[in-house]
């Protein structure tokens, strides 16, 4: 009798998984701070998809450091869509695993980035150390919190923003920029591996005077603990473009190209752009950006393509082993 019951249960379980396989699923592999954003976007999109097609869509998101996520996809994580912190990480998926074509960034509008962001300073209430601009970060006694650029996408944008500030300062050049980022990183007491780790170090551990942070993370910190922090916009920063891409080989394997394409295109619709703005990401849609202009002050922003010659070059010069970033930590320099 028990045996029969067991067999029946096993058959039921099998039937359930078989039915589950027919169900529509989408896995979005994303970078660290987008937990809230893609939850909101996913809920709205699933609802819309259900109304349009009657199909129930399970959209799940995996979050982590951008480089780590790219490696997971290369090693076999079945991502249908990748939404990472910078193009170089998606380039790596294309180059090392061949899961999508090399020209992926041309397939969607605006460099495949539906929203942009930038790097800002988060300081403690009242700004006790009077931190106003990048030049304040290299002063003696200032502790700067930022993750390791080798592993964190946001940290790479922050590093490049500091570099471009030093280079664009009157009289600035490559050597001065090198010295400037060197001095800045010597004021960093902890290098976490991802943006969330650094946020925790700054907010929960109370370490450091200033956190170099994604604009969206900084606004989220303000929202979660009102009255404890302030955002400081430096005189210039960088236009961070976190791109999205379809992972062709995985989509074809899962047979869900239609819904995956609909999802990435949805990110450009006014409804999605509005959600992005509300979650503190700068929408591409000019009308919606104008509506939220109080949240997103207009400051000069460096561009990865025109100022740094694209990600491939920036990665090689600054972040590869033996690059400029490594030299900062070499003894006697």
């Amino acid at each position: 009798m028990r045996r029969i019951l067991f067999l029946a249960a096993a058959a039921l379980a099998f039937a359930a998984t078989a039915a589950g396989a027919a169900e529509l699923k989408l896995l979005n592999v994303s970078y660290d701070p987008t937990r809230e954003l893609y939850k909101d976007l996913g809920d709205a999109f699933s609802k819309q998809w259900k109304a349009r097609t009657g199909e129930t869509l399970t959209l799940s998101t995996s979050n982590g450091g951008s480089g780590a996520q790219a490696r997971a996809v290369i090693d076999g994580l079945q991502a249908d869509v990748v939404t990472l912190a910078l193009a170089a990480d998606i380039d790596a998926i294309s180059a090392k695993a061949g899961l999508l074509p090399a020209d992926w960034q041309k397939r969607l509008p605006q460099n495949s980035t539906p929203y942009t962001s930038t790097i800002v300073f988060l300081v403690r209430k009242g700004n006790p150390k009077k931190i106003k601009d990048w030049s304040d970060l290299v002063k003696p006694g200032i502790e700067v919190i930022t993750p390791n650029p080798k592993t964190s996408g946001g940290a790479r944008w922050a590093y490049l923003a500091a570099w471009s500030f030093a280079q664009k300062t009157p009289g600035g050049n490559v050597d001065k920029a090198k010295a400037f980022v060197g001095a800045l990183y010597r004021n960093v007491p902890v290098l976490d591996s991802g943006a969330r780790g650094s946020t925790v170090t700054f907010t929960k551990r109370g370490l450091g005077d200033v956190l170099l942070d994604w604009e969206n993370e900084a606004h989220l910190a303000l929202k979660e603990s009102p009255g404890k922090y302030e955002i400081v916009y430096p005189s210039r920063s960088i236009l961070a473009e976190p791109p999205v891409a379809l992972v062709d080989k995985n989509i074809d394997r899962h047979n869900n190209r239609k819904v995956a394409e609909a999802f990435v295109n949805y990110l450009y619709t006014p409804e999605a752009q509005e959600i992005q703005a509300r979650d503190f990401y700068r929408p591409r849609n000019p009308a919606i950006l104008a509506k939220y202009k109080a949240t997103f002050p207009n400051i000069p922003l460096a561009s990865i393509n025109t100022d740094f010659g694209g990600w491939a070059k920036a990665q090689q010069t600054h972040f590869a082993d033996g690059g400029v970033f490594d030299k900062i930590y070499q003894p006697g320099k």
Partner: protein, 279 residues
């Protein structure tokens, strides 16, 4: 055929189930230990010898290896010394709360390492309970190499205690009493009778704590600060290299760690055999 039958029968005569259990052991060790290690050792061969050498002789890699091995050795020594005192108290005295204390020892075993790391960094951060007391004297533990040492001591303690405890229990008191009747002081009895008897166990405990410390990742990255050349442990450097898609570079460091650990454990084993013989 006949020869095989005879030899297997005679083998069975000596050790029941010898063929089966040896076969299983070989199969199990190969699958669980040898194959993954082989994969690790073969990976750097994608690089030329020159590249392998460049990968492991970079100043940053050497600093990380020095920190990992040096700190693990120090932590193992500290754990062995204080572990011995803890075991002495637990075995030789009776007092209220002894069982509770005994159970507490195992906690670092059971705690997920990330939880241990977060707990330690919260305590030792300049805003934490211990960290704020130390900050008065200008001592920083969290986010410095000292933080690495604290984490390694924490996770290594149960290894020394659980190795020493049964041995001291077995030892009994008669030898110390004999030493006392022969005129030895309490200190002499411990140093010249108990410690030599315990030497093999002390070395095993130290070896286990050392191995655990070298390999530890989860708890240390929360408390170390992770600054290259200063407080970056070798396992973190491996993860960092992986995240830059430098698989061969990561495996190179892995192979060096494996070889160094193997040599050190072998040396400890030899010492242990020597100590056991001398006894």
């Amino acid at each position: 055929m006949t020869a095989a039958t005879i030899s297997s029968r005679s083998a069975r005569g000596r050790f029941p189930g010898f063929g089966l259990s040896l076969g299983f052991t070989l199969f199990y060790l190969t699958g669980i230990v040898l194959v993954p290690l082989l994969a690790l050792v073969l990976r750097p061969f994608e690089l030329h010898l020159q590249d392998f050498w460049t990968a492991i002789s970079a100043p940053r890699v050497l600093a990380a290896l020095r920190l990992s091995f040096g700190t693990a050795l120090a932590a193992a020594a500290i754990d062995t010394f204080f572990g011995f005192i803890v075991v002495w108290v637990l075995v030789r005295y009776r007092f209220p709360g002894k069982r509770l204390m005994d159970a507490l020892i195992d906690l670092p075993f059971a705690l997920p390492t990330a939880v241990a790391g977060i707990a330690l960094s919260t305590l030792y951060a300049p805003t934490g309970w211990i960290g704020s007391l130390l900050a008065v004297y200008g001592i920083k533990v969290a986010y410095t190499p000292w933080g690495v040492l604290v984490a390694m001591i924490f996770i290594g303690l149960p290894f020394t205690v659980r190795t020493l405890q049964p041995v001291l229990q077995e030892l009994g008191r008669d030898l110390e009493e004999a030493a006392a009747t022969l005129g030895a002081t309490r200190g002499q009895a411990i140093l010249r009778v108990v410690v030599p008897m315990m030497a093999p166990a002390l070395l095993t405990g130290a070896a286990l704590a050392f191995a655990r410390g070298v390999g530890e990742y989860g708890s240390i990255i929360f408390i170390a600060g992770n600054l290259p050349m200063k407080s970056e442990i070798a396992p973190l450097l491996i993860v960092t290299k992986l995240e830059q898609f430098d698989y061969a570079g990561a495996a190179s460091i892995g192979v060096v760690m494996l070889a160094a650990s193997f040599v050190m454990l072998l040396a400890l084993n030899a010492l242990q055999v020597w100590a056991a013989k001398r006894r």
